[in-house]
Amino acid sequence: MELKTIEAQNVFEQYLRTLDDAIKRLPLSMQKDLRAEISLHIIDSMQASNKETELDRLRDALDRLGDPENYMKPMIADYAVEFATSTFQPYHVFLAIVQNIGIGIERTLRSSFFFLLYLTLFLFVFLFVSKILYPSHTGLFFQNGGFHAFGFLSNPQGDSEQLGGWLFPLVILGFSLDYLLITLLMKLTRKRRK
């Protein structure tokens, strides 16, 4: 497909290279079809655009299409699963898992991080209750003048607990900071997703 100006031709070819790269794992016949279809889509979209120059009409068309890396993702992942399950080759099964994890990796990382923060929140509550029920087993323990443990010890023999009742305000402070951090991060991720 030839465009009239060199600039537009370069932008067009660059877009097709990005597309080729995004769909390189699909079978060749599928790649050929998609390349032809998307090229025709771009030409049709340019013809419908009311922008003045060819380059602007092209940019308009590409903006409307979106980034191939993004919109082709579900298809690549779909195909990888299909190919892996039809061949049962361990290598392809592995590839398919990697492709699908790739899509959800950001979400997975985010939820694991939030899970850890929530777990810490729970630990603060645990420390608070544990200090009431088992005061001598809970706190900051030193042995021979050096740090030994923080939290709950089933057998604190030979240890001296340093915090005493100060553990309560500390735990409340930790809990509040953790809670604030979770709320703040939640707000940030929501804004970013938008």
Binding site: D33, L34, A36, E37, I38, L40, H41, D44, S45, A48, R64, L65, G66, D67, P68, N70, Y71, M72, K73, P74, M75, D78, E82, R190, R193, K194
Partner: protein, 114 residues
């Protein structure tokens, strides 16, 4: 806050029913990619990345609901036309019934609340 919530909700609803809209449009006649996207935007207020349509059509093809064929045009430019299959038509019939029943229930809830 309200606008953010509504925008997110709207995006999710639209994403969820795009294949439903595509099947309904294809049940009228066959379309090629760009023409289909144009029709989607004409009948609805969709503002999605147009490229999203191609993986969706591929998925519908794999599910046996849609079929495609390159057709040579008098202009010399071939077009890949998508049509609904028999299985697609019967699936769409069920989907339409579900949609009508769902929208009537939602309308009832809205009316009760207002």
């Amino acid at each position: 806050m309200e606008k953010e919530y509504v925008d997110n909700w709207e995006a999710q609803v639209k994403k969820g029913i795009l294949s439903f809209i595509v099947l309904n449009i294809l049940s009228r006649k066959h379309f090629y990619g760009y023409e289909l996207m144009d029709e989607i935007q004409r009948v609805s207020t969709y503002n999605i990345a147009e490229g999203t349509l191609y993986p969706l059509l591929d998925r519908l093809k794999k599910d046996g609901l849609v079929t495609s064929e390159w057709v040579h045009q008098p202009s010399g430019v071939p077009r890949k036309y998508y049509s609904i299959t028999k299985a697609g038509e019967s699936t769409l019939e069920i989907m339409n019934r579900h949609w009508l029943s769902l929208s009537s229930s939602i309308n009832k809830v809205i009316r009760k609340n207002s």
